[in-house]
C-alpha cells in the first residue's frame, strides 16, 4: 500500500488499536522512529507501553491500524518475522539460558554448523566479535549464570545486534540494574545510536529518560498524550502528561476517624527489596494504600511483613504481639492476614472446592480433639462466608479453578475473614477482575475498616489508591519515598514520589558521568 510517509522513518505505527477482553489497551496510537535516534516511551503502570512494544516486535497483533517498516506495510505475526526486518525486543525479564555460555546464548537457534555438527570455534569467534562491538569485556565461553544482571542485559543487546537489528526495543532495561550498570548500558545505547541503530526505550525512571532520550512519547490509558522534545523533555512536563486526567472517583468512601495503633513496623529490612530499613504504622480502622511503580518493592514489603520472605532485621508488632520473622504462622497468630499477589498460585488451591479453601487457614483453630475435622463448623462457616462475601458459583465438589477471577478473590479474602484478623495486607487485591467484583472488594474493605480492621493494600491502579486510602505510602527503589495524607493526595503527588525525587536523579547523573 503506497503511503505518503517520510522515507527516512525506519518504523512507523499508524492508528494502532489493541483490545483485550474487557479493556482497550491501545487506542489510535501513532509512533515513528527514525534511524539513529532514541525514542523513550513513558506512562503509568497499565498505560499500554508494554503492549505497544510487543506489537512492534511481533509478539502481539493489532486489532486495527498498521505498522510500516522502511515505508512498507508489514504484518508481523511472530518475533522471528520482526527479527528478519531488524527489530529486536529485549524483554523486561531476561530471556537467557543461564546454564549455557555467552556465545551459545548469543547464537541460540542460529549456531554455525555443518550437518548438525556445531562449529565451536566459529561460534566463539563470532560471539567475540559481537561482544567487542558493544565494548563488553567478557570471554564468550563464560557461563551466563556467572554474570551480573547488568552484564546479562548487555548480552541480550549483543544477541539482538548479532541478528543485524536496526531497532532495539528495550522494555524497562534498567529495572534491576545498579547505577553503574545502567551507566554502562547508556554508553552502549549512545554508541549504537551514533552508528545508526534506533532504540525504543520504555522506562518508568524519568531521570534516565531525560538523560538518554532524543524524544519522548507519553502514553496514558492507551492513548498518546504527549510528544516531548528539547527543553519540554523535563520531569515536570513528563509527569503532567502522564497523569493530567480528571480522576473519576472509582469508589466513594466514607472515611472514619482512625483508632489506636494496630500495626507497628520498625526498621524492617526486606531481604528481597533494597537494604534500607522501613518504618511505618497502621491504626485500627485505617486503610493505607501502598503506591509505587512495578518493581518498587511493594510486594516484597508485604511478603516480608507476613513472613513469606525472610527479613534481615527490624520488628513487626500487631497490637502487643511481636511477629516472629519468616513465619507466616506467627504472623497469622498475631492477627495478620495476607491476600497475596497471585491468587492462582498463592491464594487458592485451585483444584479444591470453595469450602475447603475457605477453611484452610482456620482449621488449626477449629477442629475437634485429636485433629479431627469439624465438618459441621466447616460447612456452616463457609456457607456464612459465601453469603457474606457474595461468592457466586460455589458448589461443593466444584473446584475454585472454575470460578471467575472476582469470585476467586472473594474466596481468598473470605478465607482470612474466618480468622478475624486485626491487620489485613492485600497485594493488588483487584488485579484482573471485572469492575463489578472490584466494587464488591472495595465495599468489603470499607466495611472491614469500619469494624476496626487495619488494611494495607498495594495497587498499581492510581484510581484505587486515591479512592480508598486514608493515607498513602509511596515506594520507590525499595524505600518509602514519602507519605501522603488524604488531604494532600493527588495523582501528581504520588507520581512525583514514585518516580524518584530530584535528589536521587542528580546523584545518578553524576555517578554516570564518573563511569
Amino acid at each position: 500500500m503506497p503511503r505518503d510517509i517520510s522515507t527516512e522513518s525506519l518504523l512507523e505505527a499508524c492508528k494502532i488499536t489493541k483490545r483485550f477482553p474487557g479493556t482497550v489497551a491501545l487506542r489510535d496510537v501513532d509512533l515513528a522512529v527514525h534511524p539513529g535516534e532514541v525514542v523513550a516511551v513513558i506512562g503509568e503502570n497499565g498505560a499500554g507501553k508494554s503492549t505497544l512494544m510487543k506489537i512492534l516486535a511481533g509478539v502481539l497483533q493489532v486489532d486495527s491500524g498498521a505498522v510500516f517498516v522502511d515505508g512498507q506495510q508489514v504484518n508481523l505475526r511472530t518475533v522471528r518475522e520482526g527479527g528478519e526486518l531488524g527489530i529486536a525486543l529485549i524483554h523486561q525479564e531476561l530471556n537467557l539460558l543461564p546454564n549455557l555460555t555467552v556465545a551459545a546464548n548469543i547464537f541460540l537457534g542460529r549456531e554455525p554448523h555443518q550437518f548438525g555438527w556445531m562449529k565451536r570455534r566459529e561460534l566463539q569467534e563470532a560471539a567475540a566479535a559481537v561482544l567487542k562491538r558493544i565494548g563488553l569485556d567478557i570471554a564468550p565461553d563464560t557461563l551466563v549464570s556467572a554474570l551480573s544482571i547488568g552484564k546479562r542485559q548487555l548480552v541480550e543487546v549483543a544477541r539482538a545486534l548479532s541478528c543485524e537489528a536496526r531497532l532495539l526495543i528495550m522494555d524497562e532495561p534498567t529495572s534491576s540494574l545498579s547505577e553503574s550498570e545502567a551507566g554502562k548500558l547508556f554508553e552502549v545505547i549512545r554508541d549504537l545510536r551514533d552508528r545508526g541503530v534506533s532504540i525504543l526505550y520504555v522506562s518508568h525512571r524519568l531521570g534516565e529518560v531525560e538523560e538518554i532520550a532524543d524524544r519522548v512519547v507519553v502514553l496514558r490509558d492507551g492513548q498518546v498524550t504527549g510528544h516531548l522534545t528539547g527543553k519540554d523533555m523535563c520531569r515536570d512536563e513528563m509527569v503532567r502528561n502522564m497523569v493530567g486526567r480528571d480522576v473519576a472517583r472509582v469508589f466513594e468512601r466514607t472515611r472514619m476517624a482512625s483508632g489506636p495503633l494496630a500495626l507497628d513496623v520498625r526498621d524492617l529490612v526486606c531481604l528481597n527489596g533494597s537494604a534500607s530499613p522501613l518504618s511505618f504504622t497502621l491504626a485500627e480502622g485505617e486503610i493505607v494504600g501502598l503506591a509505587g511503580l512495578v518493581g518498587s518493592g511493594r510486594s516484597a514489603l508485604l511478603r516480608t511483613l507476613f513472613g513469606i520472605d525472610p527479613a534481615a532485621g527490624g520488628l513487626v508488632r500487631v497490637g502487643g504481639c511481636l511477629v516472629t520473622p519468616s513465619s507466616p504462622r506467627s504472623a497469622i497468630a498475631c492477627g495478620m492476614a495476607l491476600v497475596p499477589e497471585d491468587r492462582g498460585t498463592q491464594g487458592l488451591v485451585l483444584a479444591m472446592a470453595t469450602s475447603p479453601n475457605l477453611s484452610l487457614g482456620a482449621l488449626h483453630r477449629n477442629h475437634v480433639v485429636g485433629g479431627i475435622l469439624d465438618k459441621t463448623w466447616e460447612k456452616q462457616a463457609s456457607e456464612a462466608m459465601i453469603v457474606q462475601m457474595g461468592i457466586r458459583g460455589a458448589h461443593p465438589g466444584k473446584a475454585t479453578r472454575h470460578l471467575s477471577g472476582g469470585n476467586q478473590q472473594k474466596v481468598v479474602l473470605g478465607k482470612w475473614l474466618l480468622h478475624n484478623p486485626r491487620v489485613l495486607l492485600m497485594d493488588e487485591p483487584t488485579r484482573g477482575i471485572d469492575i463489578g467484583a472490584k466494587q464488591e472488594i472495595y465495599r468489603a474493605m470499607e466495611a472491614l475498616a469500619a469494624e476496626g480492621m487495619a488494611i494495607l493494600f498495594s495497587s498499581s491502579e492510581m484510581e484505587e489508591i486515591l479512592a480508598l486510602s486514608d493515607r498513602v505510602l509511596v515506594m520507590h527503589d525499595g524505600m518509602i519515598a514519602g507519605e501522603l495524607p488524604a488531604v494532600d493526595l493527588s495523582e501528581e503527588a504520588v507520581m512525583h514520589l514514585a518516580t524518584g525525587h530530584e535528589l536521587s536523579y542528580a546523584s545518578r547523573q553524576s555517578s554516570v558521568r564518573v563511569t
Binding site: P328, I332, L338, T345, A351, M352, L360, I372, L373, G393
Partner: protein
Amino acid sequence: MKKILGISGVLVAVFVLTALLEPNFLTAYNLQNTLRWTGLFGIISIGAAFVIITGGIDLAAGSVVALVGVLVPLLLVEAGWSLVTVFLVLVVVLLVLGLLHGLLITKLNLQPFVVTLCGLLFYRGLARWITGDQTQGFGSAFEGLRQLAIGRIPITESFGLPIPFAIMVLLALLAGALLNHTIWGRYMMALGHNEEAARFSGINTDRMIILAYVIAVLTAGLGGVLFALDVNSVQPAVHGNFYELYAIAAAVLGGCSLRGGEGSILGVVIGAAVLRLLYNAINILGIPTQLEFAIIGAVILVGVIADEFVRRITAARLTRSMPEN
C-alpha cells in the same frame, strides 16, 4: 469417586472373567491366598499413597521390607531378644528412617526421587551385609507369631479371612480417617495440589511432608514383618525386590496422581487387589508367567489412558456448562 468406579470395574471384570474361564479360581484355597497377598501388598501401598498425595515418591519401600525382613528373624532367633524389645527397636529404627527421608526432602530440599532411591540402594546393601547374604527364617519356631501372616479368621467351615487382609482393612480404616477426617489429611491434600498456597495459609508444610514419609516407612516396616513371617525364608538379595513399584502402581491405579493432591485409600486398596488378582489370573489360567510384568504394565497403561480421557471429557463438559459471572 469416579476414579474408583473405573478401577472397581476392572476388578470385577477380571474376577468374573477368570472365574468363568477357570472354576478352580473360586476355590477357598485360591481366594484365601489372593486375599492374603492383597493384604500384604495393600499395607505397603497405603503408605506409598500418602507420599504420592503430598506430591512425592517413595522408592525405598521394597528395601525397607528386606531390611525389616532380615532384622526380625535375626534378632528374634539368632540374637534371642524378646518380642517386646524387637518390636520397640523396630519402631525406633523405622521412625528414624522416615524422619531422615522427610528431613532430607524438606530441610535440605533434596528431591524425593533421589532421597528414596538412595534409601533403596542403602537398605538393600545393609540387609545383605548384616546377614552375609544368608537366608533368614524362623524355622519351626514362632508358630504363634507367624499366624499374623499365615493365619485365618474362620468365616465358614472351609473359608477363613486371612489375617494380613484383616490387618490391611484396619490400617485402611485408620488411614482413610486420617486422610479424610483430620486437619492433617486436609493439609496433605492441599499442599499436594499447591504447596505455596498451603504455606501462604499458614500451614507448616514441611511437617506434613515429613509425616507422610514417616507413614510410608512405618507401613513398609509393618509389611516387612508380615512378609517375613509369611515366607519364612528371607533371601536378603531378592526379598522385597520391586515391591516399591507394586505399591506405586497400586496407588496410581487407585486414583493417586503423581502430581500430588489426589487419591483415596479405598482406591489404593482396590488397586492392590487388581494387581494381585491379575497375577493370580495369569497363573491359574496357564498364561506364561513370563508375561506377568507385561500384562500388569499394559493394564496400568490402559487404565491411566482411560483416566486421562475421562478427565478431558469432564473438563470439556465443565467449561461448556460453566456460568460466567
